[in-house]
Assembly symmetry: none
Homo-oligomer: 136 residues x 2
């Protein structure tokens, strides 16, 4: 079989499919994605292609992968998985205020806050992660 990738490449199509499953709640936050080998069988794609798809979800911070464990869906990602910054490395999302933040902002715990996350690097390695919380 040849390798035609008309329009979108397969790994992007697969990534979109998985993203929809996550945002729709079909794969709830905090749970594991099916193993790469399982996804490969389901999509009839090679493991490498599946890994490319998951890499996209990882870049957008929709999931996190751990060696030997699997790929987890991040908490939050179901209803407000928006990625604003295109390439700037700044990611904006809505989070619920924990008791500490709630006290600082003088609101009830659980109130929605805006979190802006940016990453600074030095020689390619992550130097610091900065999170800024504000009221919407």
């Amino acid at each position: 079989m040849p390798t035609p990738h008309y329009g979108q490449p397969r790994y992007r199509v697969i990534a979109d499919d998985l993203r929809k499953r996550i945002e729709s709640g079909a794969i709830p936050p905090g749970t594991l994605l099916p193993a790469e080998s399982v996804l490969a069988a389901e999509f009839r794609a090679s493991r490498g292609t599946i890994r490319q798809a998951i890499a996209i979800l990882r870049e957008t911070r929709l999931v996190a992968t751990e060696h030997g464990r699997g790929t987890f869906v991040y908490p939050d990602s179901s209803s407000s998985g928006r990625y604003v910054g295109s390439e700037s490395g700044v990611r904006k999302r809505h989070v619920a205020a924990d008791p500490e933040l709630a006290a600082l902002f003088a609101v009830k715990p659980g109130t929605t806050l805006v979190e802006e996350e940016s990453v600074t690097r030095q020689n390619g390695t992550v130097d610091a992660v900065v999170k800024v919380y504000r009221l919407p």
Copy 2:
């Protein structure tokens, strides 16, 4: 031949090597990197491994790749870190890395991180809470 990758994986070693060539000026800004096939021959690695290495440099914004053309060295971005030292009350403490922070810092979840928290106010009311995470 097996596939032993003691210590660092090959693609990271190759990425470091290329990064040094760029930072030393051996590959001047604006010029092309050798083609992937050439690098593959030089490092005796597969093209896939070379592509993994270049992907790292791309994430760091050290190079940019264009389809059919090649991989260019960025015209120097040595932007220094911009720091706005707020004024007051910087609170420092140790926290355990959640999966997301762990992934960013490339450490195991649970690893100790230093968290610096500062609060900016306007007329006494909290405007924003800034949290900076670093490795100890």
